[in-house]
């Protein structure tokens, strides 16, 4: 960018130090939890003084963390499974032109991302309390799906913006009906946006705190709720275990998705 200029070395050094500091600030929290999870200490500290697997063992046997992990994974899966098709249909419709209705539709579909999550949470809590659905799986599912919709919608809309709709015309001219065209032509070519949308919907649900706090409970307590309560009341080293699992899981999924995408230039 500055190829027309020469930069003096003290300035270079200062820029380098600044960049390294900001990078450290961004990275450190993600990185320190891994060694912390192997700490032997009762207290939470970094760097750990002694190492052990006791927290991993305890996590594995915990009747608090394990069910919450299962709930969260199931919830995230169901959220992605519903939010993605719904957002796909909406993105298709708004891309294929709905005339004047397009702008208000954008507004509605992006609303869950613009309304502060705390308001989504207490609003849902209020409505679900009337329906006696607080602490129920469907209640959590509704909240998470709605929060995942804008993410999935934006990714899929961007995908459709790059999609060549002549493909659809070609398919129809060759005799394929609407469904056949969707399944054989549109969806295969949208597989990367679909995969990204599914991944991010899954992560959005897994990461969601506030709706889970208000709407979850009992048998349907999510990982984030357990963690949040733990963090607020008493800093618990087991959170480091679940954080490590989390980071490894996401790193794996991201590597797989992006690795495949790089292989297949689209």
């Amino acid at each position: 960018m500055f190829d027309g200029f020469d930069v003096s070395w003290p300035l270079r050094l200062a820029i380098g130090i600044f960049t390294a500091l900001v990078a450290t600030f961004l990275l450190a929290p993600s990185l320190i939890v891994v060694p912390m999870s192997f700490s032997a200490s009762e207290l939470l500290q970094f760097p750990p003084t002694e190492f052990s697997l006791r927290w991993w063992q305890q996590y594995w046997q915990s009747d608090l963390w394990m069910p919450a992990t299962k709930t969260s994974l199931l919830l995230a899966t169901v959220t992605a499974a519903v939010a993605v098709p719904i957002a796909f249909a909406a993105a298709y419709a708004t891309t294929r032109s709905l005339g004047w209705a397009r702008l208000p539709l954008y507004g509605v579909l992006l609303m869950p991302a613009t309304v502060p999550p705390i308001l989504v949470a207490i609003g849902l809590f209020f409505v679900l309390a009337r329906l006696h659905l607080v602490g129920s799986f469907p209640g959590l599912w509704l909240g998470h799906t709605v929060i995942a919709i804008p993410t999935a919608y934006v990714i899929l809309s961007a995908g459709f913006a790059r999609f060549d709709f002549t493909q659809e015309k070609a398919s129809r001219s060759l005799g394929a009906g609407w469904w056949r065209t969707m399944i054989s032509v549109v969806i295969p070519q949208m597989r990367f946006p679909l995969l990204s949308a599914a991944l991010l919907s899954f992560l959005t649900s897994l990461d969601e705190v506030i709706v889970s706090m208000f709407v979850g409970g009992g048998a349907n307590t999510t990982l984030t709720k357990v963690m949040f309560l733990g963090l607020r009341d008493r800093v618990d080293p087991q959170a480091a275990v679940i954080s490590t699992i989390w980071i490894v899981l996401v790193a794996m999924v991201v590597t797989v998705v992006f690795g495949r995408q790089r292989q297949e230039p689209s």
């Binding site: 960018m1 939890v33 309304v115 709605v146 607020r232 989390w246």
Partner: protein
């Protein structure tokens, strides 16, 4: 050229219009499930909240709750704190994020993609995990304090969490990637020849930065700042954990009103105020952009 109408030809415009309408309705139908879910889960609850905030027990409408909130110091302080925290977060993001984005944009391909990964990685780590890790680093006997004491910079551990400072650090950590990405994108879009031209015209680095790059990046900086500000206004998790109860935001007050005090009218009214603040920021942004465009202030804001 007009040929005579074929045998049995008729004006079919009404039928064709109906076909077009049906196709349009079909498209609406595809968008409907998403719209319905958002309506059930967000629009209806928000409408209910609004009603609760203005309804008296006897069903009449009043602004009592709002007057109560505006005259209670606990609430007015939380409004003030919310704006302070949000403003401060935007400021730190600008101070850290803009130079960082500049470095990213001017770095070579390899370094740039590493830095991009650095910015993206926090996205892939759970919000709670990051907040948790920050609290470990910043606690009384945490890494940061030990480092400061070991190097002799301070003699007593500094209070780095459960206060305003900790909240800002946490908020900045969450928001910084969201700020850097649009700024980076905006700087990347600048035509390199403009910078070369500035160099060939004899402009110094500082002048080029101030007179050429920053104005052209202003679009991204502005977008990033608005995004960070709006998200900060309603943020809950980080102030709740790293603020340690000493940084009362509107969001944490709403939570308390619901789960501790069961004061739904106050929670709803605060919610409406929060929503209005968000709406106001968007409105001001929109008007600002439009008036700048109307003034012919070029495409860079």
């Amino acid at each position: 050229m007009t040929l005579p109408a074929a045998d049995g030809a008729f004006d079919n415009s009404a039928l064709l219009r109906r076909d077009r309408k049906l196709a349009q309705i079909g498209l609406f139908g595809l968008a409907l499930p998403a719209v319905l879910l958002v309506t059930i889960a967000i629009v209806v609850p928000l409408a209910a909240m609004f009603w609760i905030s203005i309804a008296r027990p006897d069903g009449s409408v009043s602004l009592d709750t709002y007057l109560r909130i505006l005259s209670t110091p606990v609430y007015t302080r939380s409004v003030l704190t919310t704006f302070q925290v949000s403003g401060m977060t935007v400021l730190t993001c600008m101070l850290l994020g803009t130079p960082f984005a500049l470095v990213m944009a001017s770095a070579g391909q390899r370094l740039a993609s590493i830095l991009l990964l650095v910015v993206m990685l926090p996205f892939w780590t759970a919000l709670l995990v990051r907040t948790y890790a920050l609290s470990v680093l910043l606690q009384r006997n945490g890494l940061v304090n030990s480092f400061l004491i070991d190097t002799g910079l301070v003699s007593e551990p500094l209070p780095l969490i459960n206060n305003f400072f900790g909240t800002i650090v946490g908020m900045t950590h969450v928001m910084l990637p969201l700020f850097i990405l649009p700024v980076y994108a905006a700087i990347k879009q600048i035509d390199h020849n403009i910078i070369r031209a500035a160099a060939s015209l004899g402009a110094s680095k500082l002048l080029t930065l101030r007179a050429v790059i920053l104005p052209l990046a202003a679009n991204g900086i502005f977008a990033g700042a608005v995004l960070v500000f709006v998200l900060s206004l309603g943020f809950y998790v980080t102030p709740a954990i790293l603020g340690g109860g000493r940084v009362p935001m509107i969001s944490t007050r709403i939570e308390q009103n619901v789960s501790v005090l069961s004061d739904w009218p106050a929670a709803s009214a605060l919610g409406v105020l929060l929503l209005l603040s968000v709406g106001l920021v968007f409105l001001v942004t929109f008007l600002l952009r439009r008036s700048i465009k109307a003034l012919g202030g070029s495409a860079n804001v």
